[in-house]
Structures are given as structure tokens and as C-alpha cells.
Symmetry: C2
Subunit: 121 residues, 2 copies
């Protein structure tokens, strides 16, 4: 059960159509949930939303000084999924990544309302 070691990719790459951590089907949504469910993935997309290109080091600083090894892992992953690209002036979202970025903006709006209704606020 949930055995990363036997038939799934080595925790660094991920492709729709192929099985991923925690799902043997390879359905796109599962691949996406896997990728976005890894630490820092969502945050990286968040920091890149808006279209500005950012250098590796800028991005690292923006993500609360994430470890460079993990940042690189995630960037590889997201680039492999065509959500992020590296151009001459740094990292940026692809067209598809920008779609997700827009969804994160929605999520931000939603989160503000959500926070108001919570007991701890």
C-alpha cells in the first residue's frame, strides 16, 4: 500500500499517463494532486503568478528561504509538467502554469472569506 519504492517514479519526475505516488491510475488529476501536494509546489506557483520572471535566488527568497535542493527539485518537477519554464531572465509560469496561477488568485479571494468564518479569528 502506498509504496513509493516499487513502481512509481523516483520522486523527482511525474508524467500524466504514468502512475504517481499514491495512485496507480495516472489520471491527470492524480498526477496534479501529487505534484501540488508536495511541499512548496503551491507556494512556488503562488510566487510566480502574475507573470514576473524571477531568478532562482529571488524565488528562493520569496519562498521563505526554501532549501535550494528542494527548490530545484520542485522546479524540475514543475518544468517537467510544463507549468514552469526557465528563460534567459529567470523562471516564469508557462501559459498553462498561468492558468493555475489564476486559480490560486481565486483561492486567495476565497481564503479571505473563509478566514472570517473561523473560530480562531
Amino acid at each position: 500500500m502506498a509504496r513509493p519504492s516499487s513502481s512509481a517514479p523516483p520522486a523527482g519526475s511525474l508524467t500524466p499517463g504514468a502512475p504517481s505516488r499514491g495512485s496507480r491510475t495516472g489520471r491527470p488529476i492524480m498526477v496534479l494532486l501529487d505534484a501540488l501536494g508536495r511541499r512548496w509546489s503551491l507556494r512556488i506557483l503562488w510566487e510566480l503568478r502574475g507573470g514576473a520572471r524571477r531568478s532562482f535566488r529571488d524565488l528562493r527568497a520569496a519562498c521563505d528561504d526554501i532549501s535550494p535542493s528542494v527548490l530545484n527539485d520542485r522546479l524540475k518537477l514543475l518544468r517537467g509538467l510544463a507549468l514552469v519554464e526557465l528563460g534567459p531572465e529567470g523562471y516564469a509560469l508557462t501559459a498553462q502554469g498561468a492558468d493555475l496561477g489564476a486559480k490560486l488568485n481565486d483561492l486567495d479571494a476565497w481564503a479571505k472569506d473563509w478566514a472570517k468564518t473561523l473560530p480562531g479569528d
Copy 2:
């Protein structure tokens, strides 16, 4: 940096307004990105979308036999954030959790198109 050990919650609870792993601001979106960025969080919401109540054990099976300790951790977390609730007939999304569930349905539709445009497919 990114030091969970000094001022952030002990990796089991999370509240908007209070700092979370990887963000000292406590902005709702950051709390949400933190929670959803932990392994299995998105998957659990995914499996609960649609409104059916599911027992702990059913949910576990649906999530590719996730470890019960992690499942319980995530359920505590998501309950603390008022996204999931435990009723007499099992776990279900709250009204707010259902909002997120709907977003995941959107994401599913998006992912299908996305997968078509990828080289590895």
C-alpha cells in the same frame, strides 16, 4: 531557514491569523497553501468532494491505503480548518470544504485539457 521549530505550530494544527510552516504572516492563503501542500490533504478533499459521508476506513481505502496515522493527522488538520467534519455517519466536507471540493472538480476538468498538451502523452 524555513525553521518549523521556532515559532510555528507543531505540524499538526494550523490557524489563519497565526504563522504557519514557511510563512510568518499568517495570511489565510498561506495557511491554506501550507495545509493543502501537505501530503494527502488534496487527495482527501478530492475523495470527499461530492458530499458522501465516508468512514475513516473507507476513506483510507479510497486514498490508496494511506497510513492511518497520516490520515488521522490530516483529518485533524482539515477539521481544525473547518473544511472537514466528523458526523455520526462518517467524515464529510463542511460547507466551506465543499467550496474547495468544487474547485477541485474544476481542476479535474482543467487537468484533462492540460494532459493533452503535454509531450509525454
